[in-house]
Assembly symmetry: C2
Homo-oligomer: 139 residues x 2
C-alpha cells in the first residue's frame, strides 16, 4: 500500500533571500545545501537540510507565477509541506477514493525528472501539500 | 555549538479534528501515534509520526488561547514548525546575538517537563518557529 515515508521539505516563501538566510542559516545555524534557479517555475530556491528533511526558502523571480501571487497576497511565510511517498500513482488513487481534491490529478514531471503532485488545501485542512516520489534507482 | 537536529513536528490548526484526520490519517495513510488533551494550553492534539518528524493536528478547545485566536483570524492551516535543538539555552543566546526577536527569551517548561521557546515570526520570515530540546537521559 502506498505510504508517506518522510517530510521531504518545508517550503517558505520570501521576498528577501538574504534576509531569510540571515535567520535560517546564520542565526539558527542550518547549512545551505545549495541555491539554484528553477527557471521554468520562476523561482530561486535555497535548500537547508535538517534531520531527514529540509527547509526550502523560495524567492519568486517572476511575477507571473502562483508562488509570486501567494507572496503578494499573504506575505512571507510558510508556503507548502512536501511529503515523500513511495508510490505516487497509488497514493493519488487512494486520495481520489477519499474524495480529496487534487491540484494535479496525475503525477507531474519537473524538467529535472522529479515526479510530484499537489493536493488542494481545501481538502488538506488549509495546508498546501506536495507529494513527491523519490527517483527509483537500480531499475 | 548549539544546533538544530531535526524537524520535530509541523503543527496544523483545525476546527474539526475528525475532518482533519480524514485527510491525514484515512486518505494519506499516516498512523495516529496518540491523541491527548493539553488542558493548560486549551487544546486537543493528535500526533501522526512521519519519518523522523510528525504532523501535529491541534484543535483549540477553549477560546481564550493564542491558537484559538489564530484559528479565528486565519482559518485552518499551518500553525507552526517545531525544530528540535540539542542546546536550547545556547541556541537562544545565538539568536539574541543575531537580533532575532523571541516570544520567549528564556526556555519555557511545559507541565510534562518539555523545554521549549517560540521565535517571533517577524524575525523568522513570517514562520512561527518553536524550538524544543529533547529530554536528556542518563543524567
Amino acid at each position: 500500500m502506498a505510504r508517506v515515508v518522510r517530510v521531504a521539505h518545508l517550503a517558505v516563501v520570501t521576498d528577501d533571500l538574504e534576509g531569510a538566510l540571515a535567520f535560517w542559516r546564520d542565526a539558527l545555524g542550518l547549512e545551505v545545501g545549495g541555491i539554484h534557479d528553477v527557471e521554468q517555475e520562476g523561482v530561486r530556491v535555497a535548500f537547508l537540510p535538517v534531520g531527514d528533511s529540509s527547509v526550502e526558502v523560495v524567492l519568486p523571480v517572476r511575477e507571473d507565477t502562483g508562488v509570486a501571487r501567494y507572496l503578494e497576497k499573504r506575505g512571507p511565510g510558510m508556503h507548502h509541506v512536501c511529503l515523500e511517498v513511495d508510490d505516487l500513482e497509488g497514493l493519488l488513487a487512494r486520495l481520489k477514493t477519499h474524495g480529496v481534491q487534487l491540484i494535479h490529478e496525475e503525477p507531474q514531471v519537473s524538467p529535472t525528472g522529479r515526479r510530484y503532485a499537489f493536493v488542494h488545501p481545501k481538502s488538506a485542512g488549509g495546508v498546501l501539500v506536495e507529494l513527491y516520489e523519490a527517483p527509483r534507482t537500480g531499475e
